[in-house]
Amino acid sequence: MSMPTVVLIAGLVMILAGCVGLIRTHHMLKIIIGLEVAMKAVTVFIILGGFLNGRMALAQAFVVTVIVVEVVTAVVLSGIAISLYRKHGSMDIRNLRSLKG
């Protein structure tokens, strides 16, 4: 089994871990952790793509952009979490049940 295949499988496992963590957690800030873990694996995939195709410069440009966008997402998510904390006094997702239907 070649090295890129192992990296691919390990990355897929990591993405699965991140998605499960994102969905299963009850704490608002742990969602950021799940998202970040999955994003690590995705950036490694992009670099692996550059490695395999000889387009490392392009892959690095992609990775830099992805990292910037991911940081902005994390900031917005923490902003919403903190505002919700100020409203409800807790970071528990189960408090968010007022919209129904």
Partner: protein, 488 residues
């Protein structure tokens, strides 16, 4: 003429950027009263530029206009920006809905006007960027910008419900981002480039003539990611919460254009690139039928005006997906026209919601009734919205649905075509229920003194109803024109 045509695309990027800078450069106290007007001005400018650009491009016979902001588009492998007829039409829709939203916002946004204008410009930039991109990665970047601006717009007043709606939307969107990026990374591993020109079913097959399991996985992930962003069933759960809890001006933007550009346009791109693969089109069609059904059935049991409208948006996006899935030029035209007619009638409906909220203070339809006498303009606008949504001629909705049904028929999916026709009866049903409960039926004595809304919301309702009816009356001309250029 050609220099005007070459210059027009810059408007779509430069105008919102310039307005953003202006909004922040002028001191807040002076800017406050003009912020929404500035946004409205940019939206009107975009609408005008898109109409002009569409007419010029169609007349000149060029396929597309390429441009770059500060870089040369002819450099090898450069990711240039471009406008073609499809993107100009969608840019027109963006400008149209943005204008409707700005007209409503003039009345409903009382606080944080400068922030609203900032985010509005960011949202416009995000959507315009998506439509101008020629590379899947650029599409992704501007999709994220659109999403971020939407989350913050929904949560802008930091009300409990607004924050909750934004949070749910953000979580689902994060999942969608992970899926889409994984799909993009797998495609990149296979082809080494993400430009539209370099992708396509042929490129994926490679030397062996068969597709890798990696490519199937990539396509499945991309389709799922865009489905979540579009609010297609079974991933639609975030949409009603987000649209209901946002301020009405923001709901107009979300329902009217964001779900279509962020979601449906992604499908347009996917089918354009990979439509030769039957599996891709079939999955889009499957998503379409599930979405129409879920949206319509869930809309029948709601009691909050905006929630009914949100589920209705979910349902109508299903029709757009049908048109895209058919894969033919007629299907694409039907889908695009449905984007326009849905933008028109949904904006009308949400303007009516804004009017009701301003005058009554509540949006619970169980408490309303018999408002036709008090608010005749709102009632009339709502009726035009209902007739257009249900697909009654001569309104715009009738023509777009007809084209979609015909394209499905031509693609050989007779069963789906019949299902779409049948499900539109459900559309009529939930809208009829809405009309009956709000405007007709016994009047709740609480509302005896309620007056009609004035100002910009009344104006926007009248204009939008006129567009609904006028577009419907003009459609046969559009069809004749399309036939003359040989599209149908």
């Amino acid at each position: 003429m050609s220099s005007i045509l070459n210059g027009i695309p810059y408007v779509f990027v430069a105008a919102p950027l310039f307005a953003f800078i202006l909004n922040n450069a002028v001191p807040r106290e002076r800017m406050r009263s003009h912020a929404v007007a500035l946004s409205g001005g940019v939206a009107a400018l975009q609408l005008a530029a898109a109409i002009l650009g569409f007419a010029l491009l169609a007349a000149s016979g060029r396929g597309e206009v390429r441009f770059g902001l500060f870089w040369s588009v002819d450099a090898a492998g450069a990711a240039y920006l471009r406008v073609n007829l499809v993107s100009l039409f969608l840019l027109l829709c963006v400008g149209f809905v943005a204008l409707a939203s700005a007209l409503t916002a003039a009345k409903t946004i009382d606080d944080h006007r400068c922030s609203f204008a900032n985010l509005f410009m960011a949202l416009l930039l995000g959507m315009n960027g998506m439509l101008l991109a020629t590379d899947l990665f650029t599409l992704y970047v501007f999709l994220e910008i659109t999403g971020t601006a939407s989350f913050v717009l929904i949560a802008m007043y930091k009300s409990s419900k607004g924050l909750e709606g934004a949070f749910k939307y953000l979580t689902m969107s994060a999942l969608a981002t992970i899926m889409m990026l994984t799909g993009l990374a797998l495609l990149f591993m296979h082809t080494g480039s993400l430009a539209f020109a370099d992708l396509g079913a042929a490129a994926l097959s490679g030397a062996s003539g068969e597709m890798d399991i990696l490519c199937y996985g990539a396509l499945a992930l991309l389709i799922s990611g865009f489905a979540i962003k579009a609010g297609a069933a079974p991933f639609h759960s975030w949409l009603p919460d987000a649209h209901q809890s946002a301020d009405t001006a923001v709901s107009i933007l979300l329902s009217g254009i964001v779900i279509k550009i962020a979601g449906a346009y992604g499908f347009i791109v996917l089918v354009e690139l990979f439509g030769d693969l039957y599996a891709v089109r079939l999955s889009v069609a499957a998503l379409g039928v599930a979405t129409i059904a879920f949206g319509a059935l869930l809309a029948l049991v709601q009691t909050h005006f905006k929630r009914i409208a949100a589920y209705s948006s979910v349902s109508q996006v299903g029709y757009i997906l049908f048109g895209i899935a058919a894969g033919s030029p007629l299907g694409l035209v039907g889908a695009l026209l449905h984007v326009f007619s849905h933008a028109a009638f949904k904006s009308t409906l949400f303007s009516g919601a804004a009017a009701l909220h301003e005058q009554l203070g509540t949006l619970d339809i169980e408490q309303m009734g018999g408002l036709q006498k008090n608010m005749p303009v709102t009632g009339f606008a709502s009726v035009t919205s209902f007739l257009s949504a249900a697909g009654v001629p001569p309104f715009a909705g009738f023509w777009s649905k007809l084209l979609i049904l015909i394209s499905l028929w031509q693609a050989g999916w007779i069963g789906l075509s019949a299902a779409a026709l049948g499900l539109s009866i459900l559309t009529g049903a939930y809208f009829l229920r809405l009309q009956k409960k709000v405007f007709f039926g016994p009047r709740n004595p609480r509302w005896d003194d309620v007056k009609e809304i004035g100002g910009t919301i009344r104006a926007s309702q009248i204009v939008l109803s006129a567009v609904n009816l006028g577009a419907g009356l003009c459609f046969p001309l559009v069809l004749l024109y399309l036939q003359s250029i040989g599209l149908i």
